[in-house]
């Protein structure tokens, strides 16, 4: 019943709220913070969230299918670290890349297999494989925390590429976002992900290959992580494996969840990732300009993520009837 006075809050979804907050923040920062509205700073904002956004795209696809991939950051950092280590120790580029690609695919397949066919909750599988990937690569395959990109390698050149004065990773993010948008919205397989995320049992009953598609999503997420890792290495000229123990992983979940992709699956899309990434980008940039220490930034991000999860829990309450025992 629409009466005069209060706006209808029910019709406001999380995406709308977050978008409004992002706009308000943007305007406030533009007015209040010197140098925020500067074009270079705006490019820096977009650039800073590109890698995060790319990772969030992969995470979004997994979450829409009612899963989660906590191994994304480990795969991102460790695959590229191994790749660079192989290059530094003289392995031919093609062979090294083939190794790494095979490794990444194997981890994606393992995640998917354990989730889909062994029925292990995604959260535990990916927590365990993430820990394993980091531990294995760090202890067996590489020798130090940070691995530099070899001089003149294409990854280094990639980092220097500019188009219209905008770094290449922004275009990669935009391109990937567009591809994911097309995939999720207009392809049969993309739609199937929503069905499977919304109600896996029903999706299976109508003949959707739910389990193979689950595997596919984790492989996709792993490949996206590899791309994100290569871009990171390109812009920093090295990859620091300590990023695995940082809060990057939670930033990814933050971007996806805060944009309005329900953790119970079946909801959301690329637009939500973009909105989430915009908010986080503006927020991080503003905090950096105000000169808030990194540790405090983490605290603020955690508080926001907590708020986002609480709101998510209220807007998308867990369905006690379909929620399975042991769904934690």
């Amino acid at each position: 019943m629409n009466t005069i006075g209060w706006p209808n809050f029910r019709s406001l979804n999380q995406e709308g709220i977050v978008f409004a907050i992002a706009v308000v923040l943007f305007v406030a920062a533009a007015i209040g913070l010197p140098g925020f509205i500067d074009p270079n700073n705006l490019v820096a904002i977009v650039r800073s969230v590109s890698v995060l956004g790319i990772l969030a795209l992969g995470m979004a696809v997994v979450i829409i299918g009612r899963g989660i991939d906590l191994s994304a950051v480990a795969i991102m950092a460790m695959s590229v670290a191994w790749y660079l280590q192989l290059l530094n120790s003289g392995t031919p580029d093609g062979l090294a890349f083939a190794y790494v690609l095979a490794g990444v695919l194997a981890i994606g397949l393992l995640n998917g297999f354990l989730v889909a066919y062994a029925d292990v909750p995604a959260i535990f599988v990916t927590l365990a494989t993430g820990s394993f990937v980091f531990g294995y690569v760090r202890s067996q395959l590489i020798t130090q925390d940070a691995v530099p990109v070899p001089q003149g390698h294409w990854v280094e050149l990639l980092g220097g590429l500019r188009f219209l004065d905008i770094p290449i990773e922004v275009f990669v993010f935009a391109g990937l976002a567009f591809l994911f948008f097309l995939f999720l919205r207009y392809t049969k397989w993309g739609r199937y992900i929503y069905f499977a995320g919304d109600n896996p049992a029903a999706a299976r009953n109508i003949g959707i290959p739910v389990r193979p598609m689950l595997v596919l999503r984790y492989v996709l997420s792993a490949l996206v992580a590899l791309i994100a890792g290569l871009l990171t290495a390109a812009s920093l000229h090295s990859i620091n494996t300590r990023v695995v123990n940082s809060t990057l992983l939670y930033d990814i979940v933050l971007v996806a969840v805060i944009g309005g992709i329900g953790l119970s699956g079946g909801r959301g899309g690329v637009r939500n990732v973009l909105v989430g990434a915009a908010l986080i980008g503006i927020l991080l940039n503003a905090m950096t300009i105000i000169d808030i220490p990194l540790l405090t930034q983490n605290l603020i991000k955690a508080a926001i993520l907590l708020g986002a999860i609480i709101v998510d829990g209220i807007i998308n309450p867990r369905d006690e009837q379909t929620a399975q025992q042991g769904d934690i």
């Binding site: 989660i68 354990l114 062994a118 029925d119 292990v120 909750p121 959260i123 535990f124 599988v125 927590l127 365990a128 494989t129 993430g130 820990s131 394993f132 990937v133 980091f134 531990g135 294995y136 690569v137 760090r138 202890s139 067996q140 925390d145 809060t247 939670y250 979940v253 953790l263 220490p293 540790l295 405090t296 983490n298 605290l299 991000k301 955690a302 508080a303 993520l305 907590l306 999860i309 609480i310 829990g313 209220i314 309450p317 867990r318 006690e320 025992q325 042991g326 769904d327 934690i328």
Partner: protein, 707 residues
């Protein structure tokens, strides 16, 4: 016997296949895997690392173990309640910092530091509990976020106050005692961990709040429907976890006299791995404190061992990742498939070659020759009854029978039209007998031996006997009490047909054909129950001989009747009096002419006899075929057989039309009539016996003429 059959009989009768299934029914098998893992881990690292078991080395690792196992105990309780707490590392670190701050910077007493620690843990736990319990957020992500939050806070605090802590001069004997000294060879932290574990264990297994936690973890919805305050219970588990982690944090503050950036790092994944490796189930309801402790020891031994072996950065995470993945997968698969495995292996048929029998076909001329006389019986309670396994009449000619619904129904003389529920017991009342003072004694399937007084008071006489030493399944419990009879001295002799199956799974017992039936005696004088005979193939009917010095009992799947001597030179022994009958015997009762009536629940068939010689085939059958396609004893044709004191067959009668009494499980003679019951029948038959004593009644035969 052919060579093939000899091999089969060795293979299936000598190899105790059934043990596997029986072991799998035990809850403690859940503990076996983590325990073996524990032994293997300790053995491996103990042999690789020199001096691993040396006291000084152990001291240091046990101190760590004390702190760690506390955190694991908290995690275990949360997981039992169906949640998970990833913030334990942060709580641990923050509590440690609280203690350090209060002691070193505010320079307050150790006890105040402890209070600060506990308060930190409890508040943090309460926040988690509120979010997960009351707001019903997802435990994993929520505690993950509070973990990040707490970690960020801790990092800020530590960097801010690190220098102040370094400069502090506060010291305390109490602090040193808690942190460094030992007490009867064990450090304080280990003692505290042991005490906490014991209290938690008792609370979980013996107290109402503990049961509520397990109930909520086992099935949240059912717990809610049962009236348990689910949200509050979940809330409390997180508060408890916070409490445990904070004690751990306080202890490490005492031990290290400070807090550093590494405090509590990776603790959450270690604690989680420990709980899961120990066998605490994800999703709740299954697990114990002991399992959590076993997991804690395994994980800590592994990680410490690897450090001492000198493996580099990352090895720990690798090993933890592998352990977590493997343990979670095993846990999930085991939980999912345990009952399937159990179904597959529980039925373990044995080989049996049944003896040649005489035909019971009409016109065969044998004493067993069946006719169609029972089809002429009148019906009592047609359509009202379900499953009158046994029937009995009292001195006032009223008729009693048990029903599938757990009731004993009384039909009133003289026409047996009017009926009432005489008593409700539950279970499935099977064999019936009247004792001297008119109490109705009944063997109640799946429950035990019960007595119903004339004024309908139901009393349990016996539900268990003494446990045998070698049995794996609990054979003290009466699983399938079947028929009873009462000796002149008042002792009640009764049968328990099988130790391995519940009453309604009698068909599986017949397919398995393992001899686990027993004859037991209940002594009303001291209320004790003793096992007299064991190892028969489905002991069934029991009947006191007319002179009261021996009793007959039926062994259904072997088609035999035995006589057990109560007195005389053969007292306490049994001898087989009828063997290789063509039918499966059920209840036995006295006849007016000094002979005995015996019911046949079904007839032997050549096909099933043949299958008894092929245990492998029966095993495959139960595994691969749906239940309604199994081959099991024919119960579409039964009958009533009269035999004499020596075991000679006097006559046999049946209902060859199958219309009224296809399967007969009992019959009772009373004043010239035979009352016939069947466990799958919907009526009682009343059949006029030609030439029977019209005044003979069973109560009079047992207890003399009316007093």
């Amino acid at each position: 016997m052919s060579f093939r059959e000899r091999l089969q009989s060795w293979r299936y009768n000598l190899v105790p296949d059934h043990v596997v299934g029986e072991i799998l029914t035990k809850r403690w098998t859940d503990n076996a895997i983590p325990f073996l893992a524990l032994v293997a881990t300790l053995a491996t690292f103990g042999s690789i690392i020199p001096g691993f078991f040396k006291l000084t080395a152990l001291q240091e690792s046990t101190r760590q173990l004390g702190e760690f196992s506390m955190v694991v105990t908290g995690m275990t309780v949360v997981m039992l309640g169906g949640g998970i707490d990833l913030s334990v590392g942060s709580i641990f670190a923050l509590s440690c910092f609280s203690a350090v701050y209060v002691f070193f910077i505010l320079e307050q007493s150790v006890w105040l530091a402890l209070a600060a620690s506990l308060a930190t843990g409890l508040i943090f736990g309460a926040i988690n509990g509120y979010l997960v319990g009351y707001l019903r957020l997802r435990a994993f992500l929520t505690t993950l976020v509070t973990f990040i939050f707490g970690r960020a806070l801790f990092d800020i605090l530590v960097t801010t106050y690190a220098a102040d802590v370094q400069l502090s001069t506060a010291t305390s004997d109490v602090l040193d005692f808690i942190g460094d000294s030992t007490f009867w060879g064990l450090s304080v932290s280990v003692w505290l961990a042991i005490i906490l574990a014991i209290i938690t264990h008792i609370a979980l297994t013996r107290s109402r709040p503990g049961w509520h936690v397990l109930a909520v973890g086992g099935s949240r919805r059912s717990a809610h429907n049962a009236g348990i305050r689910v949200r509050r219970t979940v809330f409390m588990t997180y508060v408890f976890s916070g409490f445990c982690a904070s004690i751990g944090g306080f202890l490490i503050a005492c031990r290290l006299s400070g807090a550093g950036p590494g405090t509590g790092l990776n603790l959450e994944i270690m604690a989680l791995t420990a709980a899961v490796v120990g066998g605490v189930s994800l999703g709740g309801g299954r697990g114990s404190v002991i399992k959590g402790l076993m997991g804690a020891i395994i994980v800590l031994t592994m990680t410490n061992g690897l450090i001492r072996l000198g493996y580099g950065t990352g090895t720990n995470q690798m090993v933890l990742g592998i352990m977590l993945a493997v343990a979670v997968t095993i846990d999930i698969r085991w939980l999912k498939n345990r009952h399937k495995v159990l179904n597959e292996v529980y039925v373990a048929p044995v080989y049996l070659k049944m003896g040649e029998t005489q035909s019971a076909a009409p016109g065969s001329g044998t004493p067993y020759e069946l006719d169609n006389r029972l089809s002429a019986a009148n019906h009592i309670g047609l359509g009202e009854l379900e499953g009158p396994e046994d029937v009995i009449l009292d001195r006032a000619d009223n008729l009693y029978c048990g029903t599938r619904h757990g009731e004993i129904v009384r039909f009133f003389a003289p026409d047996y039209v009017r009926s009432e529920v005489f008593a409700h017991i539950g279970g499935f009342p099977l064999g019936l007998a009247f004792d001297k003072s008119g109490n109705l004694i009944s063997c109640v399937g799946a429950m035990g031996l019960y007595s119903v007084s004339p004024d309908r008071e139901v009393k349990r006489l016996s539900a268990e006997t003494s446990r045998s030493w070698t049995s794996i399944v609990d054979d003290a419990r009466l699983r399938d009490p079947n028929d009873c009879d009462i000796a002149p001295d008042g002792r009640i002799y009764f049968t328990d047909s099988t130790k391995r199956y519940d009453a309604h799974d009698w068909a599986l017992d017949s397919i398995e054909n393992r001899a686990t039936g027993r004859l037991l005696v209940y002594d009303p004088k001291d209320g004790s129950t003793k096992t007299l005979l064991d190892g028969y193939r489905y002991t069934n009917g029991v009947c006191m001989a007319h002179d009261g010095k021996s009793l007959f009992f039926a062994e259904s799947w072997a088609c035999r009747v035995h006589r057990y001597w109560l007195e005389g030179p053969k007292a306490g022994t049994a001898e087989c009096v009828i063997r290789d009958m063509p039918g499966y015997p059920d209840n036995i009762n006295r006849a007016s002419d000094g002979n005995y009536w015996m019911a046949w629940l079904g007839m032997r068939t050549p096909s099933f006899d043949l299958s008894l010689r092929h245990p492998d085939m029966r095993k495959r059958m139960t595994r691969r075929l749906p239940q309604d396609e199994w081959l099991f004893p024919n119960i579409n044709t039964g009958g009533v057989v009269k035999f004499n004191e020596k075991g000679g067959i006097v006559e046999a009668m049946g209902d060859l039309t199958g219309g009224a009494h296809p399967m007969v499980t009992s019959m009772r003679e009373h004043k010239g009539y035979l009352f016939v019951g069947g466990i799958l029948n919907n009526r009682i038959g009343r059949y006029k016996i030609s030439g029977a004593d019209p005044n003979w009644t069973s109560p009079a035969s047992y207890w003399g003429a009316k007093p």
